[in-house]
């Protein structure tokens, strides 16, 4: 009987030892003293993050994170995340900053903090530069042929806002963009920013039409809830980077175009 009790205690001790330490998000002080900033990057989300031919992660998020690390004077360590990991990784302290097109929402703001926006995602229309369309509403005509990718949100937008247009659906973005460039359609409605990596392979001059009533998603850098000093530092740094042109230039470098719904430099936060 006594032996059993002891075995129970031993098992309990083993469980305690095996339990992972409850990770805490690093404060600004801890980051400065440990000289490491841990940043979450999604490596399957080009042009924000992807693996290059040397199997290293590269992209817009990587450049921004490295710049922040350089400004802080610390080394940047990347952790790979997928979309569903982003918030749990912040909560459990596996990352100090979270990138990967993290959209600001009230539900998420209950559990994590957000920096000022660094990127927007919203639908716009890509047309040839010499076409006669002036607004997105001009596309709502029986003569207009739209090209969309099957199963994406713009398909619903088109059904609701441009019901008269003819729509041809493709299964992937490279095919859709190629069909558009070859003249099989007059416009693509999408988050046009993400099409820049495909359209830059073609010579045609293009133009983007925005819709002022469209819902704009603001993507921010995520931080652990209440990590106040780090958050204000990141906001100050992002103001600086927006103002001195680093963020717009880096965006253009990776996306192949300017941000369709640009983020202004934010001096107040």
């Amino acid at each position: 009987m006594k032996l059993l009790t002891w075995m129970g205690r031993l098992a309990g001790l083993a469980c305690l030892l095996a339990m992972p330490a409850v990770a805490q998000a690093h404060s600004l002080d801890q980051i400065l003293s440990s000289k490491t900033l841990v940043v979450g990057i999604n490596p399957n989300l080009p042009p924000l993050g992807s693996f290059n031919s040397q199997n290293k992660i590269q992209g817009f998020d990587v450049d921004v994170a490295n710049k922040l690390g350089q400004m802080l004077g610390v080394k940047v360590k990347f952790v790979q995340v997928n979309s569903a990991d982003r918030i749990p990784f912040l909560i459990t302290g596996k990352a100090d900053l979270m990138m990967g097109a993290l959209t600001r929402t009230p539900a998420r703001a209950k559990v994590i903090d957000f920096s000022v926006p660094i990127q927007t995602e919203a639908l716009s229309a890509l047309v040839k530069a010499d076409s006669s369309f002036k607004t997105i509403a001009d596309l709502n005509s029986k003569k207009v042929r739209l090209i969309e990718v099957r199963g994406t949100t713009p398909v619903d937008y088109v059904k609701k806002n441009l019901p008269n247009a003819q729509v041809t659906l493709f299964d992937n973005y490279p095919d859709a963009v190629r069909a558009f460039e070859q003249g099989r359609g007059d416009a693509i409605i999408d988050v046009v920013d993400y099409l820049g990596i495909y359209t830059k392979q073609y010579p045609a001059k293009l133009r983007v039409m925005t819709d002022k009533n469209v819902e704009v998603d603001y993507d921010c850098i995520g931080l652990a809830y209440g990590n106040a000093a780090l958050k204000s530092w990141v906001n100050v740094a992002l103001y600086q980077l927006e103002k001195d042109g680093f963020l717009p230039a880096t965006y253009k470098k990776w996306f192949g175009m300017n941000m369709v719904y640009p983020v202004p430099a934010q001096p107040y936060f």
Binding site: G151, T168, L169, D171, Q182, G183
Partner: protein
Amino acid sequence: MHYVLHYGQITPYIPYLLGGVLISLALSILSFAGGMVLGLVFAILRNEGGAAASRFVRGYVAFFTNTPQLVQIYVIYFGLPDFGILFTPFMAVLIGMTLNAAGYLTEILRAGLASVHAQELDAAETLNMSRLQTLRHVILPHLFRVTMPALTNQYILMMLGTSMAAIFGVEELTGRAFNINSTTFRSIEVFTTVAAIYVVVTFLATILLALFSRWAFRARVPVI
């Protein structure tokens, strides 16, 4: 696994899917007809034409039966526009399927031509039939009678092959299934429904073709 099947969510789309069947049928019937005409010309050229014509036909058949149909349509759909030739999605797929079908049908019809008995040709000559008359009254009836099962097979394969058109934005049966799947996410229900529709269509096609070949060529083929 606790997946509950909800075919009820698919039933409103049945008319939409049947509309897709019409496009699939149009594609397969038109390309089969086009392929038959080309194939017959090629088969005759291969047997009766000169050395150059025969070599051309052999090259054509080798090329179109040894490359995937998908790749052939890709070339027509995405390759030719770079040379300024732009077909609508339907036309591009139709042309691709026709050229592909011509390759296979040439071989089937050539086998049929080869099976015409020499005595029948001698008899035609004895009756002083012209070459065209021989073709019309002796060779072709025999040809279709012999090759009907293989031709039916080829048609069924082509009917099923129309599903490739979905990739090029033609909204035939499979393309419409993709569309429904992308809005309802009921993959099992959508694709099993579509599979059932394909089975019914090909089954009906087999029966109709068998009845037709019994009536037109007195071919001894079972109906079911």
